[in-house]
């Protein structure tokens, strides 16, 4: 069990928590004006593209992984789509179940 807790840190959860907590605090205190927030949002789109580029580069530079990609890739692609389809199917029922609440919230959001 200790091994698992050690791996939890592998995702740099602390970093993420500190960043999001700092963001919520700055937002709560109204630290940034509208223009700065707009610019930060633009920068965040750039950060997203940089992050995706790195994600791709991490896969591209790993020759062993690329070799395995053909061998095990087929199963993985089918499974990834199956997993996503399963999640979407059950969430569809949830949205039916909560349909009235979601609709009123959306209308309030528009008002």
């Amino acid at each position: 069990m200790r091994g698992l807790f050690f791996l939890w840190g592998d995702r740099h959860l602390e970093n993420i928590f500190i960043s999001i907590a700092a963001g919520i605090l700055f937002g709560w205190l109204d630290f940034f004006n509208y223009k700065t927030k707009k610019n930060l949002n633009r920068l965040s789109t750039v950060a997203l593209l940089i992050m995706l580029w790195c994600l791709g580069a991490k896969i591209g530079c790993d020759e062993e992984l690329l070799r395995n990609l053909g061998l095990l890739g087929f199963r993985s692609v089918i499974m990834a789509f199956g997993i996503i389809a399963g999640s979407l199917a059950l969430l569809w029922f949830v949205t039916r179940l909560f349909a009235d609440d979601i609709r009123t919230e959306e209308q309030e959001g528009k008002a």
Partner: protein
């Protein structure tokens, strides 16, 4: 934007394949985490400056929806992945184990390959990387049809890497539900893996 997302991934893969070796990985990880930290910081600002939304979610119905989303994502992922995996000739217990990674590829692949089998660990890595990568392209598409459903695609990644995408293509309210969903799933993955690990 969807094209930008796909282009960024493909350009990265091409660049990595042509000009980088595996030794570049630690640097890529550093950049990746810095970009991610910045993105969740900006997402946090948006959540913090809209406190009325947080207040609106904290009611019995809102809390029930907050619990129903991760529950259905876990059941849906394991059922969908189990069926899809057995269709490709995998053992049901292996397919279920891979699905229980819930998109957290770094943890699930390491745990499965060290505690069970390297082959299943690799499938787990690829499947869960694909789940996260596909999320970037699928969230904008599904969000047009149904905002809540777009949360389910990313699995555990909806608390960090795919959270900014959810907020961009839906609204803050859905973004907060996505964050809670990712948080609950992240805490569940180690538990699910240890329970579902074949003896």
């Amino acid at each position: 934007m969807i094209y930008g997302i796909i282009a960024a991934i493909l350009c990265g893969m091409g660049f990595g394949y042509l000009w980088l070796t595996i030794s570049a990985r630690p640097i890529l990880d550093e950049v990746l985490l810095a970009a991610l930290a910045f993105m969740v910081f900006v997402a946090g600002i948006e959540i913090g400056s809209n406190r009325h939304i947080i207040k609106k979610i904290c009611n019995p119905k809102g809390l029930a929806l907050m619990a129903a989303i991760p529950t259905s994502v876990v059941i849906g992922s394991i059922a969908g992945g189990g069926i899809a995996g057995t269709l490709t000739g995998m053992k049901l217990e292996d397919a279920v184990l891979v699905s229980a990674g819930l998109g957290w590829y770094s943890l699930s692949s390491v745990v499965i390959s060290t505690m069970y089998s390297v082959e299943i660990g690799t499938i787990s890595f690829l499947t869960n990387v694909l789940r996260e990568t596909l999320s970037f392209a699928l969230i904008p598409l599904v969000a047009r049809y149904n905002k809540i459903m777009s949360i389910g695609i990313g699995g555990a990644s909806t608390m960090d890497s795919t959270l900014p995408v959810i907020i961009k293509y839906t609204d803050l309210h859905t973004g907060i539900l996505g964050f809670v969903n990712g948080l609950v799933l992240t805490l569940l993955v180690p538990f699910l893996l240890s329970v579902l690990m074949p003896k």
